[in-house]
Symmetry: C2
Subunit: 140 residues, 2 copies
DNA sequence: GTATCTGCAAAACATTTGCAATTCT
DNA sequence: AGAATTGCAAATGTTTTGCAGATAC
């Protein structure tokens, strides 16, 4: 589930496409998402980057996550509640968490799949499907 | 969306069925859920009850909500993130929030409706579907 | 009379805000 | 120079914890 390497130039392009200026910190935060597909909290990102960027502050992580969210580079996923988790923009997929091992599975689901359950003329802007249960491995 | 009255004896029965001792505070918290179908936060419940129970403390609300959640009387819904909202056990339904007027709609959806999107042999214990969008009224 | 429940005060934790220093263009 | 970005320190808001007194069985 880990990528070994991503070209920094490629990340720059992505941020620029989403109208986000590619500062060093922002590049590293986005790179973190690509290298660790782990639906991180702000704190996880901070811990993962503080050795690479010793001057890094949590405020910058929070600023960056808020900006990325506004620009739709990432989305907040209300997986557990009190600490917010983030994921690279997950339009078209959702999350299932195993309550035994804690692993988070990406699942494919589209707005169309749930439109029929909604009140008349309700227009979906974004949605989350969060499933807690037990994965194959942990059922034994 | 409001009930005028519920028999206190009826609530006592419900709590007892779920293996929760029916103290006065707990009865009132559960009654709050029935009288106000508003997916409340801890603070909303506290504000709604503090006049009826002047000695009431937030700690008791938090204790009670945690206990109710463990006993499956209620469920946390990760609607927005930072403050936890609760709902009477919502197996079999989920929530759509209008981002304009803030109203929360209950929608009907069953585990079976999403089972097919999951990895092999994943067993759903509980799930949430959270939709943010625009309701009929606000689309004009 | 012992276990449970309540509620105060303080602590813990995640997140936000104000502002000064730094960096980029 | 001027605008955007960073990061420190302090504030905010929600939830948790420790503990003493009250209540229930």
């Amino acid at each position: 589930m880990k990528k070994e390497h991503v070209e920094i130039e490629e990340i720059k392009k992505i941020l620029t496409n989403y109208d986000v200026r590619p500062s060093f910190q922002r590049l590293k935060v986005y790179e973190y998402f690509i290298l660790n597909r782990n639906h991180p909290t702000a704190e996880m990102i901070f811990q993962g980057l503080k050795d690479i960027i010793p001057s890094l502050s949590r405020t910058t992580i929070y600023n960056t996550l808020k900006l990325f969210t506004q620009k739709k580079l990432i989305q907040a996923i209300p997986l557990d509640s009190n600490t917010i988790r983030y994921d690279i923009n997950h339009d078209g997929h959702a999350h299932a968490k195993c309550i035994i091992c804690g692993e988070i599975f990406d699942i494919k689901i589209k707005a169309d799949d749930i439109q029929h359950t909604l009140p008349d003329s309700f227009e979906i802007k974004e949605f989350d499907v969060i499933i807690r249960g037990c994965c194959k491995k942990c059922k034994k």
